[in-house]
Symmetry: C2
Subunit: 383 residues, 2 copies
Amino acid sequence: MNPRVLEIPGSVIRRIASMKRRGTIDLGLGEPSFKPNMTHFRAAMEYVRERGVRYTENAGDPELREAIARCYNYRNLHAAANVCVTTGSQEAMYVTLKTLLDPAKDELLVVEPAFPSYVKMAKLEGIPVRTVAMVEEEDFAFDAELIAAAIGPRTRAIVICSPSNPTGRVISRAQAAGLVRALENRTGEPIWLIHDEVYREQCFVEDAAELAAVYDRTIVTNSLSKSNALTGLRIGWILGPAEFVAEATKAHAWLTSCADTFAQMVALSIFGTAGGLREHTAWYRERQACVTSALRASGLRFLDVEGSFYAAVRLPDGADSERSAIDMLETKDVLAIPGSAFGDSFEGWLRLSWVTDLATIRTGVARIAEYCATAPNGSRPTT
Amino acid sequence: MNPRVLEIPGSVIRRIASMKRRGTIDLGLGEPSFKPNMTHFRAAMEYVRERGVRYTENAGDPELREAIARCYNYRNLHAAANVCVTTGSQEAMYVTLKTLLDPAKDELLVVEPAFPSYVKMAKLEGIPVRTVAMVEEEDFAFDAELIAAAIGPRTRAIVICSPSNPTGRVISRAQAAGLVRALENRTGEPIWLIHDEVYREQCFVEDAAELAAVYDRTIVTNSLSKSNALTGLRIGWILGPAEFVAEATKAHAWLTSCADTFAQMVALSIFGTAGGLREHTAWYRERQACVTSALRASGLRFLDVEGSFYAAVRLPDGADSERSAIDMLETKDVLAIPGSAFGDSFEGWLRLSWVTDLATIRTGVARIAEYCATAPNGSRPTT
């Protein structure tokens, strides 16, 4: 068998999440709890009734691709040729990394704390990875100077998830401009930015940079999973320069052929509806306000939730995050994800997903505060 | 960018298919023309209404996986742990090749004529490929001795598509037994069989081998695309030993996370319906009889359609199949796929897809016969 597959470790996030019991206060997985809008499913049903579910073009239905490009309206990315529809943003990122980087000579730079999939996908493809950690003392704010300073001679792409999973931080326009200046002032081969925008519709600050709007060599990956509670529908896309999208589509064609036509028609209905991506904004805003006020009242140290649907909470000094998460699950029956899953820089933190009902959020935060106040010693690392 | 992606050539099949005009007699792509059964879609809608479309486990919904394993009931492959649900059989094959073979030391053996994706996927992964061609004089019948003789020192897996795209041949039980004997009598590292069974429900002979029923190191890939006219739904699966499926699921998880939950619920309805996979058998049988009788009456040389939904027709001696296909499209307005797309051994042949209405089948075959009778010189290769 392929040693690269054999060496893939199991997912810490899934392992911890699987330990929950009936009744556990679940602030673990990033899956919104509201129901999707059935209007869009009915539109897709109508399509199937009339036309069946035949293959679309490999890159996806042309009307959907154009609707996606027009919706975001990023500089020079206005056409169907700028979009390849994929099986969720997971395939979008996988195909992007596979297409963009030559494992024999290129290297990926991942801005951490980060969702673990970027590093694992790169490893599966044999692509060398370098990481750069944002600074805890700065509340993990995106820092263009730090990112630029971490670029190595083989770095050809930088992955940035903003709004960030797990920190909830958003890259500001000023920091984005600084990063772009640094990239443009470099000599040698150009560097691509990969902007994972999957939490784009859960942004609660005004000053949020869209990298594709300011840097031409940007590839955006996104999906409907979060904005429309369609995690299981597996509709994502790559949005980028047409020449790149054409190559990525070749890789995508051999991996999965095309995305599900039914799901693409659900997506077409959403993009064809004014405000379709923002149907659930009020739901998210209510919860963001709830978790913020619960955290403020708790006395816990936490990061301001600028975006995404996570909140980051600091454990007592010296606590081991994985041990604490398990201990907290056992003693307080609250599930949160240990920071260590997102890189060494996030050790000592917990990630809370707050896309659930308000009572669960409040109870969860209160129990975490109780846990941190009373049981920190039990969570200390042992040797 | 990744040179392996840049080097992927475009698809000959898609290029020829894209040349068709309005009104062209289309015997090109392998996509059934009947409509899917909406009952299964309504069941999936009901599920979404009640439960949303959340992620399933990476390997797929456990109930669906168990239903798939039980349906085929292959030796030792009876449990959910034997199944990983994928984005169509395309991802099933891709993940299987990626997981099973170490590019640094293993080699894949492809039995030709074959659908071009196996070779292209392997190239994309850097896996060396060897091919073994079945013999034209034997009407491309699967020949265990030839296959066994082609095994090289690095061969670790053999891909067999039976019923075959493009030949319509089916591997017999005797040939399968011969192949298994040859594999079991070898010394050295064991060799896996990969059985692409996507045309399993379009089998028109009794003597059809199921490789997983006779050889434990068999991995089956399959989907609902053909049996239930759900090409665009992208529901396929890997069926194999649990230890292999566990590793393949890791690769699958990083590629696409999980298959579409809505589509999985359509699949669960089909597998939960007695005879669900065979709902359209009469439709296929009627067309297989029609194309067979049209070909008999035409005077063309053709291969008996034992299975799949293709018929293979011999061009006049010396004809170049790609040039002929284009010439025939221009002069007779009939689209068929040139044999060269399926390997050198199939040069001089055309593949006809007959999953369309009966009048189109008859007209198409008649025009191909006319073309071959009157215009063979125009299709001769030039130097």
